[in-house]
């Protein structure tokens, strides 16, 4: 940002301003990695295998890699924009600066819904895991899952309330254990360490693509599950010590980790579990990595993958609370929502009102809504967010070309990643429409209604000038 005078009248920003209590800048690249991978890794432990049910094992692999391309584009685009718009709110703040208030309001809601729904889904899953462990250890009668679901949400909200450093250090440890568990399972069952139990050829014979290429397309919906949430790294932007370095480093290391974890997960599970069983995530394999460990005959692997499943679930819920609260806080700070939500705790330096406010919402969905509907709402909100990203980066490059603002990271081959991302989003929307057309239409209807509310009522309360406090030059063409 050389040659930029932020007190100039021609500037987009408001100049130095009087923050008395702000979010604490204490995070490094490892925390950014833990936030992104932590939210996603549960998708490797459960959920991705519905893609096998839609089109067979090969379809799930094709979906895994196509979704991998989609998310690599997401990670590259996010790394460039966020290393420049280093502010809480992530994509909401990007939309506010680069596109406009209505887009920002919608993107902010996509983020809050995607993460709060995912948090609720994780809490439901954690309750179910406690139920399974109780059954396995001989508990007589049905375990009441509700106290465990509530405990997961309350404990993680409390951790988030008390400070971001402890929250994401906790995520770093449990995410690393969950990732190492996948590596150990791969090494132990593939024949690299000891005898292998892989039977790919026998299991695939005659079932290569059971529903043809339309099955591959349908599998794309759940292919997202391998990586859904990596874009959450951007929410740490205002709390990292060095945004220009930590955000691209943590995000890109995160997507590389997930590409490895997703491919290994597919390889291990599809080589041990028959596709009909693997693809049925409700009555068949609920937790495929755990099921693979059970079939390996090793008690140590069963324990390791059991803890891996629980840790991945907790890490995801923890990251979701962090991200949803930052998006809600940022919208409150700009008065897109009541300004009361824009408060920072003077001791813990966290957006404490946003964190506490979202707790009952997560509890209502975790205790009162079916898991598949909660997950679908989360995926659809995420997908709408990804569709915004290519438009965002194209406008960002056009309004502020590379020579006008110094980026922490410049993604290569622009605009190819943006076009690729937009194309893959269109394919995935079609795949979602095949399976969940009603929910897709209902959700788009919901966002249209809230957009009208924002345009005709809420926008009058927005801090129209004060919301832009980045010391940026005026956009080209304005």
């Amino acid at each position: 940002m050389a040659d930029v005078d932020i007190t100039s009248q021609t500037m987009d920003g408001m100049g130095p301003h009087g923050t008395k209590v702000g979010l604490l800048r204490v995070l490094g690249p490892a925390h950014v990695w833990a936030l992104g991978v932590g939210i996603v890794l549960v998708g490797e432990y459960m959920g991705w295998n519905f893609a096998v049910g839609k089109g067979g094992a090969y379809a799930a692999l094709i979906a895994c890699w196509f979704a991998g391309i989609l998310y690599s584009c997401v990670a590259m685009i996010d790394s460039e924009v966020t290393s420049t718009v280093a502010s809480a709110g992530g994509q909401y703040t990007q939309a506010k600066h680069i596109i406009g208030p209505l887009m920002a309001f919608n993107v902010g809601l996509y983020l809050v819904f995607a993460y709060t729904m995912l948090e609720a889904a994780n809490a439901i899953t954690a309750g179910y895991l406690f139920y399974v462990v109780a059954q396995m250890t001989g508990h007589a009668g049905d375990l009441d899952q509700r106290p465990f679901i509530i405990l997961v949400i309350m404990f993680l909200a409390w951790l988030n309330y008390r400070g971001v450093l402890a929250t994401l250090t906790f995520n770093l440890v449990i995410t690393a254990i969950a990732f190492i568990a996948i590596i150990v399972l791969f090494l132990s069952t593939s024949g690299i360490l000891g005898g292998g139990i892989m039977e790919h050829a026998a299991l695939f014979e005659g079932h290569e693509l059971p529903y043809g290429w339309i099955g591959v397309l349908a599998a794309m919906h759940f292919g997202l599950w391998y990586y859904l949430g990596i874009e959450g790294t951007t929410q740490a932007a205002e709390e990292v010590r060095s945004p220009a370095r930590a955000l691209p480093f943590g995000t890109l290391a995160g997507i590389m980790t997930l590409l490895i974890a997703a491919t290994l997960t597919w390889y291990v599970c599809s080589g041990v579990l028959p596709w009909e069983f693997l693809g049925d995530g409700v009555n068949g394999s609920v937790a495929p990595l755990f099921d693979t460990a059970r079939l390996s005959g090793s008690t140590a692997l069963v324990w390791l993958l059991g803890f891996g499943t629980l840790f991945a679930t907790l890490a995801s819920a923890n990251g979701c609370i962090n991200d949803a609260s930052r998006a809600w806080f940022a919208m409150g700070r700009d008065k897109y929502l009541p300004g009361w939500f824009g408060a920072v705790h003077p001791k813990y330096r966290t957006p404490y009102r946003a964190i506490v406010f979202l707790v009952p919402i997560a509890l209502i969905f975790a205790l009162g809504a079916p898991l598949d509907q909660v997950i679908t709402f989360s995926i659809l909100s995420g997908l709408l967010g990804y569709t915004f990203m290519p438009l965002n980066i194209i406008l960002f490059r056009r309004k502020w070309p590379l020579e006008t603002i110094k980026r922490g990271y410049e993604h290569p081959f622009h605009p190819i990643p943006a076009i690729t991302l937009l194309t893959l989003c269109a394919v995935t929307f079609f795949a979602v429409f095949l399976g969940y057309g009603t929910q897709l239409v209902a959700m788009i209807g919901f966002y249209i209604v809230v957009s009208l509310w924002f345009h005709f009522w809420r926008y009058r309360f927005v801090n129209r000038g004060a919301q832009f406090t980045m010391p940026w030059p005026k956009p080209r063409g304005y």
């Binding site: 940002m1 009087g18 405990l151 404990f155 409390w158 824009g342 408060a343």
Partner: protein, 56 residues
């Protein structure tokens, strides 16, 4: 009553404790500090400081 029944009660109790801790601290914080201080956060503080330093 086996171990899991006790764990159920423990989970209810711990949930209530975490919730209470947040609620009490929230009320205490809101009554100790003024709204101006609590909502004074603005984005771009780091960038503004960097620019300020460059100007001096």
């Amino acid at each position: 009553m086996d171990l899991w029944n006790w764990l159920e009660y423990g989970a209810w109790g711990l949930s209530a404790l975490f919730g209470l801790h947040m609620a009490i601290d929230w009320l205490k914080t809101d009554s100790t500090y003024s709204e101006d201080v609590l909502t004074s956060s603005r984005e771009g503080e780091l960038e503004a400081m960097a620019e300020e330093r460059k100007g001096h």
